[in-house]
């Protein structure tokens, strides 16, 4: 699949594929905007600072309500970064001349795998060896040992499937929107693809939020006490 994009002027897409160059562009945009806002921060927010305060506050609320005050603050940077980055990547696919990096499975997996590792690193750091209790199901007795072994395998499959579901969901939604746009662009006049573009804005926002929400819930499950 070869499409022309604005980044082709700077970077040869044969060497560096679109999803890599636009992923870097997204991070450069985020860093630049953050530095600009940081330089002109005011008590009464205005314009761009207002938008970012709304996003950051929503993410802080999400983290603190689901994880708790102490660990919520610890995980907030990871969750908020992932949300803003995915949101920007999703919306980049809607702008002509730009490609959306999240419509490639490598890109989404590169965000889901760190969440997977963060979950287990913090789980082990908080509970030490007691972290294994998270994998043994609700029953604790010698008679229930076969059931505990069974639950261990079930839980391990569940944990291994998490990064797969996270990455495939985001990738599937973005590539589906992309393909629908291409097909309808060939088949129909201008009104129908526009309607899909509006839907694309909604899908991009919802999928970014779902990714952040699930990452929050997974991290919350790792640091809370085993039940």
């Amino acid at each position: 699949m070869h499409e022309s994009a604005l980044m082709d002027l700077i970077i040869n897409p044969e060497v560096v594929p679109h999803y890599v160059s636009y992923a870097f562009l997204a991070s450069i945009i985020l860093i630049a905007v953050s530095i600009i806002i940081r330089g002109s921060i005011k008590l009464v927010p205005k314009g761009t600072q207002n938008v970012f305060e709304v996003i950051v506050e929503a993410m802080l609320n999400l983290a603190e309500e689901n994880i708790g005050h102490h660990w919520g603050r610890t995980f907030f940077p990871l969750i908020a970064t992932i949300f803003m980055y995915i949101l920007l990547c999703n919306f980049m696919g809607l702008v002509p001349g730009f490609a959306s990096p999240t419509s490639n499975l490598n890109m989404t997996a590169s965000m889901a795998v760190p969440v997977f590792f963060a979950t287990h690193v913090y789980g082990i750091r908080v509970h030490k060896l007691g972290y294994i209790k998270h994998f043994l199901g609700p029953m604790r007795s010698l008679a229930a040992l076969p059931l505990m072994i069974l639950m261990f395998f079930v839980e391990v499959i569940g944990h291994l499937a998490r990064p797969v579901t996270l990455s495939v969901r985001l990738f599937g939604n973005m590539i589906a929107k992309h393909i629908i746009l291409i097909v309808l662009g060939i088949l129909t006049p201008i009104i129908v693809p526009t309607a899909i573009l509006i839907l694309g804005v909604l899908v991009g926002l919802v999928q970014a939020f779902v990714f952040a929400l699930l990452a929050t819930l997974y991290l919350a499950g790792a640091v809370e006490e085993a039940h």
Partner: protein
């Protein structure tokens, strides 16, 4: 409906929207683990079957746990 309830409902809707894909992928992850273990140990078809069933169990366990989880308590 209050604003807090509204927010909780929105989050639960988003979580519910993930169930369909989760159920399928849990099954396939179980199948894949079984398939590769079978290749490694040379015990075709047994581990594939066992882990396929375990994957289906894991998918439904995830579904049931999500349905039982009371999200309304967590939201202020």
């Amino acid at each position: 409906m209050s604003e807090a309830e509204d927010k909780s409902l929105f989050r639960q809707l988003l979580r519910a929207s993930t169930v369909g894909l989760d159920l399928v992928i849990y099954t396939f992850v179980g199948l894949a683990i079984g398939y590769f273990l079978d290749k490694f140990f040379g015990t075709k078809p047994w581990l594939t079957l066992i882990f396929l069933i375990l994957g289906i169990v894991a998918g439904f366990r995830n579904l049931i746990r999500m349905a039982k989880d009371d999200d309304s308590k967590k939201t202020l």
